[in-house]
Amino acid sequence: MTGVRVLVGTSKGAFVLASDGRRKQWEVSGPFFGGWEIYHLKGSPADPDRLYASQSSGWSGQVIQRSDDGGQSWEPVGNKFSYDGTPGTHQWYDGTPHPWEFARVWHLEPSLDDPDTVYAGAEDAALFRSADGGDTWHELPGLREHRSGPSWQPGAGGMCLHTILLDASAPGRMFAAISAAGAFRSDDAGATWRPVNRGLQSEGIPDPDAEVGHCVHRIAMHPSRPDVLFMQKHWDVMRSDDGGDSWHEISGNLPTDFGFPIDVHAHEPDTIYVVPITSDAEHYPPEGKLRVYRSRTGGNEWEPLTNGLPQQHCYHNVLRDAMAVDSLDSCGVYFGTTGGQVYGSADAGDTWAPIVSDLPRVLSVEVQTLP
């Protein structure tokens, strides 16, 4: 029976939330890897039973887990992430050179057509690839070795490669985003990269429209229209209509254009979602009201979605990888908060209900739509 599987990574383990197509009753399983930070887990588009999870801790570093039964059981696979060659330095917070050091995997992006191929976005920023189901990992060094690399600097959460987008219509084209370096595009399967940040304006860097140095929080794409990209930047919600070559602002009537996640409706490429956050200093919703904002016009005109969401005394954040959509006929939208709630909407955001309310801090939310 058609259903959905919501994969939740938290600061103390992973959880799997499963439901049928009605999305009313949920079966909650977990925690998996209890006590460990699960920055991200995601299923293969080519095989929904193949899942990958990034498991890490400040004590014991990085572990990658793989499931071949939809998350019921897991096996640790390879965890050796070595930068290619001598990695050199990037900028530290104070502008001094700092050695490139692997800390963790923020994001796992399985290939669109091969369950054994998966990409990993790392902190310190680098892109790794495995072609054997995660057993071995090899860096695609062209990104980190871009001539601008020595000038990249970390955002508050670390210098993380947090977004990987694969373009199904143009094999070899992929996008990556790094805090706080910006967005990058490859047209040759990750061998070479170029910054795609023209049009971004960022305070807090010496040159506000520099080629790199922008704190991009998240990029989203609808697979049917891959040249159109949506971006939640540190401040500003942005759109590109030319594959990242240029960007323009679409913040419009948002109450604040600071935030972390951004996502696109599964069936309406011009319907997008953000969660406005008060400011870079106050990482909680304005006025203590948790509101998802939806634009049905590809930006600029936004409507608050509040039905079922707390409208007073809510001071949680929604992190960059903690929103996802399913592809059922009525698009489901899901997000998790730093307060441990996972909310779901089975009607494209018109109404919401908590699926779970007391998980650890939610780091990531992904959804699988099951046949």
Partner: protein, 98 residues
């Protein structure tokens, strides 16, 4: 037989209960014990020592016989009671909240 006590999160990861017992060929050093541990439980590679160069992870400590051996060189012999199995070799996660 060398007795090794892992921190709980690594026991879970390695799927072991209680102490681990290892045969360590040759001289019983920290490096030799950790090598033998990682051969027996490959999943522990990278979780105690960095995979590149074998440096101890910052928040992992090594104790035995009421001594802190964290900063001893990897080729230094472990105390005789550890080598004979009378005392365990303790791999400990530093107390650091969380």
């Amino acid at each position: 037989m060398i007795r090794v006590v892992l921190p709980s999160h690594l026991r879970t990861l390695a799927r072991v209960d209680g102490e681990v017992e290892l045969e360590v060929p040759g001289q019983v050093t920290q490096g030799a014990v950790l090598d033998a541990l990682e051969v027996r439980y490959p999943v522990l590679r990278g979780t105690i020592r960095h995979q590149d160069g074998g440096r101890r992870r910052a928040f992992i400590r090594f104790f035995a016989c009421e001594q802190d051996l964290s900063h001893e060189p990897p080729d230094a012999p472990l105390p005789e009671p550890v080598a004979t199995g009378a005392e365990p070799y303790l791999i400990v996660g530093a107390m650091a909240g969380g």
